[in-house]
Each structure stands twice: as C-alpha cells, then as structure tokens.
Symmetry: C2
Subunit: 240 residues, 2 copies
C-alpha cells in the first residue's frame, strides 16, 4: 500500500519531473504480489519504505532491490504496536494477523496461521476515521475481531470464495487455507466473521481471479452484498 | 524477449488454464527492465528460461525468483556462439556486445563498454530469415557491424536521441553512454552506424521516455526515418 503526500515531495536528488506522487510505501508481506511493484518505483524516486524487520529483511536479501537508490529511498523498520506518521495527518499502526511466510521461502513444514512479522494488518487513521487493511489472513482470532471493532472501514482478504475453488476450477491444487487465506464462504469463512462488531463498511480486497464475487450479478456477489460486503475496484475511494 | 510455442504447451504440473502461451524466455541482461517481468510469469507456468551464466547467476542470487517453481521452469545457461532451438523452427544464438553490469550491481569503477556475459545480443533465425536483437549497446565495434551485415531485421538500442538529453530534460544526471547506451545522434551515434551493411529493416527498440523519436511528427522522428529507421511499437510484427 502506498500513501500520497499531503505536501509536495522534496527529495534529495530525486527526479521530480518523472516521479510519482507516492512519498511513503508500507509493505505488509514479502510475497511477490506485495513486493514486485517496488521495482516499478525504481530509479531516483524519493520515498520512505516502511515494513517489519522480517519483510525488509527479505527485500534486503534480494540485490535487485538495490535499484531503490539509498540516496532517495530510506528503509524504515516498524514495530508492531508502535504508531507512526508516514505523511502528515495519517496515523498508521501495524499488528500481527495469522499468516505464513512467503511462498518462495516455504520449507517442507509450513506453519499456516503463524503470527509473526511476515504477515501483518494495518490501522490507518486520518481525519478522525479509521480503516483496517488486512490483505492476507488465515483465520480470525478473537484479538483480531476485537481490534477492528467499531472501525469505519475494513478492507479484508477476499482471495477465494470457496476454500477449494482453485482445484475445482482446474487451476491449482492448493486450498485457500493452504495459501494462508481463509475462504469467504463455509465454516470459518470471513463472510460472517465480523458481524455485530459495528464496522461501518466492509470491503473485500486481494481477490483471486477464480473468485466469482468479481463477476457483477453472480450469485456469490449477491451473497456477499446481502451480508454487508462490497468488492474493491481500481480507483475506489474508501472515504467518500 | 519471449517466444510463443509452435505446438501446444505441455507442462509438468503446469496451470494450463491460466498460463500464457510463452514457452521460452531468453534474458539478455540482468537489469531490472529485463528481469522484473519474470515475476509476472510466476506461478505454475511452464517455460524454459535461457540466459548467460552471468545473468542466470544474478537471478539465482535473488530468492524472490524462487516463485518460478523449478517443477515448471527449467533454467538453461547458454553460451556465446552455441546456437540453440528454444521452440521448433526457431534457431537462436547469443553474442557479446559492449555493455556494462546492471545498475544495481555497479561498483565505484564501472567498465562501460566491457564485453562479457552481462550484456548480449541475439540472432533469431526462422523460415530462412534472420533478425538481430540488441537492446543495449555502448558502441559498435567492427566485429558487431560485420556480424549483423545482411540481416533481414536489426532491432537496436534506441534509448536516447542525444547523449545528454536526460540532463537537458532535467530528469537525471547520467548520459546515455554512462548507462551503457550509445546515443542515436551525434558523433559515434547509431543513426549511421549500420549504413551500407545491406540490412533490410532497421528498428529502434528500448526507447527512453525522454527520446523525441517517440513523438509522431517530431523533427527527430523525421531524421531517423530519413536515415532508414523505424520506431518499434507494441504489437509490431517484424516479419509481415
């Protein structure tokens, strides 16, 4: 996730004509879908890169990320529970969620649902409103339900609708849970995991291309909408 | 660069429903604009990855590329001067061109114009016709001019029109030559470096966004067209 600045970017040696308006990036996970985009932000673009020590360690272990010139990009480790202000007016805090290590670092014994610093959620507070961003979550423990209670917006892991939909579609052997993603539907799904917690707006993000909620008018879209969820889309504004 | 298969892809455990038609990829350089796209070809897509030992070594040094599952993606080192057939009917050979190491591996003393296995050109022969693909080249030594003589198509490094255009545009301090890319115009430029060699079609590729040849109708576009060059574009067919 990335934050646009509230003031013009002032970079040391930055390419201000071709630079993006992004002044801060927070990576919550070391998987390729979270870190590959950093390569697109290369060269001479000034921003601050925030992440857990674990995720920044993964990035440091890949020399290709040296294209993020240290003269322009400062890497700042953030600790769970210690709020920080990446851009004026935006208060951010990370917290652990059940996940797993990135796919490309998996060993034979993968601890699905481990809470460490490889998979985290984010609290974002601005103008007195709070959003929670949780793109990967293996299940919802009580401490997580309690944490997001009363939030204005919950952006939550909508990878698969059914746990076994990838196998059923013939595109892979893994279940959602094996990938560290709880399904939307079925026992222990996310569909009703946040009911009654006073969350004003619930939005599915991180949606796999096998997930039928992507199809407007599908029965599954109807099911999630009836349960109070929306489907995220490019350009969506969460605080209209 | 990537090659489409002439026969249906048969992958071991490959995801045939979501896979691309790409069955072979040859990387000619370890810079991010050459290797970042491999991450997009991840997961359970079967293809063969060809490259020099140097470039494949760079990829091996970055754990993030483990997303290219060894069960699906075979990495095959290729040697200069030893032709290979990545897909039936396509004969390919790599050859050294003056270049440099990737930006993110630069040390204090960068040997611009070094010929090693970090920057190579490619000969592609199919249906009796031959194309040369050279996306990065610091200058044109005699052996290179001789090699591409009589080719049907030359796809050549068109990064910058003027050596100092990035500084003049205010987007960077480096010259084209410092980046290992000879300019099109001026002394020692590529514009006339291949004149009189009997090459039927000359096409600029790898064009930086400061290069005015990208603008239809620009004086610089007129200059290269008058000299017998074309500008590559997405979807271009080189053998109509």
């Amino acid at each position: 996730m990335a934050a646009a600045p509230l003031s013009p970017m002032v970079g040391s040696g930055a390419d201000t004509k071709r630079a993006s308006p992004i002044s801060a990036v927070l990576v919550t996970n070391g998987d390729v879908d979270h870190v590959a985009g950093l390569l697109t932000l290369r060269e001479k673009q000034a921003f601050t890169l925030y992440g857990t020590e674990g995720v920044l360690g993964i990035i440091a272990d890949n020399p290709v990320y040296s294209v993020l010139d240290p003269a322009c990009v400062t890497r700042v480790p953030v600790l769970k529970g210690q709020a920080f202000v990446p851009v004026p007016g935006l208060d951010v805090e990370i917290f652990p969620v059940p996940g797993k290590v990135p796919l490309y670092l998996e060993s034979d014994a993968v601890d699905i649902g481990a809470e460490g610093d490889m998979t985290v959620g984010v609290r974002l507070t601005a103008h007195g409103r709070t959003a929670y961003y949780i793109p990967g979550c293996a299940f919802v423990p009580e401490h997580l339900a309690k944490r997001v209670s009363g939030g204005d917006v919950l952006l939550f892991d909508g990878t698969v609708f059914e746990d076994d939909e990838m196998a059923r579609a013939g595109v892979g052997a893994k279940t959602g849970r094996r990938m560290g993603h709880m399904p939307i539907n079925g026992d222990g799904g996310s569909l009703h995991a946040f009911d009654g917690l006073g969350i004003k707006d619930r939005v599915y993000i991180h949606i796999n291309n096998t997930n039928p909620i992507l199809v407007t008018g599908s029965p599954e879209r109807g099911i999630i909408e009836a349960a109070g969820w929306r489907v995220a889309h490019d350009g969506m504004e969460i605080w209209p």
